[in-house]
Symmetry: D2
Subunit: 260 residues, 4 copies
């Protein structure tokens, strides 16, 4: 028998009823917050109070980073072109790539593999951290989730680790992530801070999330900011934002003649 | 003097500090929830506890509507093509148009104009409702925010009105929206329910939001669901979802010969 | 009977055969160029040699405008984020809005209405031009398709009008468009050139295109340039292009304290 | 000295002049076709007549494939939502991923590595084909560019190879691609046809294109079709295309009660 064309395990809509992962969504709204219901949507089970609180902080901590983010810059150019709000937000979301929020999934993968490989061995978390750093430095690759172009101590990391402590969510993945940070200087000749991507990666790993869901956190987190920027561009700025012709450095060949 | 190229009133990033609308974001995370901080981002001021609670419910109530939504359908086709998660979400956001969530801004505009025009007159809210219905039925246009293809009573409307009552946010815009619903049958020969778009429109109007921010609520609300569907499509379904050639009805001209 | 869910008059695919508007596409490739086949796709009939030539020039003339275009700027920010090529192009296409290429459809609508209203009257084209200019200047609106932020004489307009002459496609819509240009100074106190958007609008109107297809020309025309820029950004530039925090002018409120 | 923020080697805009790769674009329009100028944009040099002709055929051959393509399906859902034309096209372009047109770059990479590795050896093209097939079958991976879900003989491949012969562009990469096709049955127990992706990959490799430009061909090729479908959906179909709730198979858990 062939597969149904439209199929999902996420939710079921029928007249006057919306089930999410088996629960009537309207029984949950008001009891669980948006972040907690996002947990249900993504994990298939209801969160504890601590899990809801942690989810909320994860989504709130990187709400906004001004124009100092390619997604926001892209969204503002699009928003200046006479398009509806969602078009600018859509372009901003398209920018949440491997180098902009994407370190969450890369770091979560490394941390999860590190902790998985520890099982049944006598190896310490510190030794695992050393192995990860060694591999990356030998391949001359950055460890995803470490270092930041603007911050020398990422304020979001500090706050999220605090809440991970308060909610008893902090576990071995966070321990590994922090251990890597401590040792970065040995391998990369300068201290590389655990940035917000790496911190989210560690916490969602301790919460049991699949690393491939990593970008989802960053997308939800940044969407309200993208909306705020699109709105500001559309209603407080002049239309048609673009680089001026005389501020663009041309690096191509000098003018050539076309043969007749 | 020329305007600076990069300029915003939303936030300020400097090393180790992120100000949102003047507040240090890290002083707020944990005290305010994601929905409350979205309020700050969009409005420029901190929400009260009731406003935070209402924001959270507004964002939670339409988190998910299964494949019975063009944005989700679009996202799943894109997700089936060997692309990163954010590409599918981006395509889904692009679908949040005038006929898919867009009724929030259209309805909010009508409700806000209706209430504004009442000021300094003796006209009742009911009379305003009648005027709005009359104008639309004479132009043979639907009133945005009323009627639903699937639900005969929108479960989200009921829940959101409950919370608007509990938080003392319910005001004249909600009153007008409900009054219109009551009278729809007179003008359109069938009862048209106040749907979730119309309900959100009324509540955010009572909260003082600019109607042009309407789509923002729907976009944030649906993003976690778009992510869940993109993830399910990518990791639980076969690649390359497409209509089969023999299930497509061709309505064009019969085969023609090309002259030599 | 209900409508089929998947339905189109554009083309028909069956094993080993692709019909476009009734023609076997493979009978046409090599005989007709890409631009001519685009005409077939959009119009439903095969173009004449002159129509193919004109189509090709319309698509070629605005292939590229460097970073002096919001679509290209947006595409480059997205391309810098570690995403596949198509994501950057997709974001660039999303920027082809009412103020970036969109003047083609707005201008074509005005020109087509102008010429349609002339039918059966004794009114001259010049008088129609005057009416259009008068209406816009009274509403203090720009006439779409006139003026350019960079060019004082749009080189693309000159070239396209030349080819419209050579192909005998130049007709009353072009006449009206040129007449408007001649008279702009009278109504707007400075000469506003017929820009490439206005020129394409006039020519496609003389070719019989629906004005609502206007943006299609600009989208196809700019796509190769968007691809070139995405490629250059991805493979010749550093990752993560973003405005630096200290080059962003913050115009929001000064730092505030959060009450405990 | 720091790098300029806006920088490109592709083109230079100044008032009344647009240089592309050093040539005044307006000297070229009319002499070179759109496809030939796309070659200039992407390669940095003017094409020969044969190269222009080949480019044109490459872009024309996969103009359209009806709703039997995820990009078109996605575009139509988006187009049904009350959005501008470019939003639907943008979503369609976002779907040109690794499994939808993306085989061009994967196949071109394999073919180019195969031919590069041949240099200075006595190995035959057939032996290279065997090596490629062997590697893939041992890893239980498909060879990109071979096989098609709808066509048993891809009509576009036949036509493009014909034109590659006529233009003397057919070379060792095409030879290798055809050799692989001939041998597929030995390694995969059924004949896998050289599909249009594989064929384009081979031809652009013989033309000297970087394999990473592969998706560019498919994007340009499909854009006019995406526009035609968006237009048809917007102006000939009902708004809000979505899967009906009762046609969606729910595979999640049965309804659960929420504990009070």
């Amino acid at each position: 028998m062939s597969e149904p064309f439209w199929k999902t395990a996420i939710s079921k809509v029928e007249p006057n009823k919306i089930l999410v992962r088996g629960y009537n969504l309207m029984d949950l709204v008001g009891k669980y917050n948006y972040a907690g219901l996002t947990y249900l949507l993504w994990r298939g089970e209801l969160p504890s109070t601590n899990q809801s609180r942690m989810m909320d902080a994860l989504l709130a901590a990187c709400l906004e980073h001004s124009l100092n983010a390619p997604s926001v810059d892209a969204a503002r150019f699009v928003a200046s072109c006479g398009v509806p709000l969602q078009s600018a937000v859509s372009a901003g979301v398209a920018a949440i790539g491997d180098w902009h929020g994407g370190a969450i999934e890369q770091a979560a993968k490394i941390l999860q593999e590190g902790i998985t490989n520890l099982k049944g061995t006598n190896q310490s978390i510190e030794q695992t951290a050393i192995n990860i750093l060694k591999e990356h430095s030998e391949r001359r690759e950055r460890v995803p989730g470490y270092g930041h172009p603007t911050h020398t101590s990422d304020p979001r990391t500090k706050k999220l680790l605090e809440i991970a402590d308060q909610t008893n969510i902090r576990g071995r993945h966070v321990e590994l992530a922090v251990s890597i940070e401590t040792l970065t200087e040995k391998f990369f000749h300068k201290h590389l801070i655990l940035n917000v991507d790496g911190c989210i990666a560690a916490i969602i790993s301790d919460m049991g999330f699949d690393w491939r869901m990593g970008k989802g956190f960053f997308i939800v987190s940044r969407t309200p900011g993208l909306i705020a920027h699109a709105y500001e561009q559309m209603y407080s700025e002049k239309p048609y934002k673009a680089a001026e012709w005389n501020e663009i450095t041309y690096t191509g060949p000098p003018e050539k003649r076309v043969a007749d």
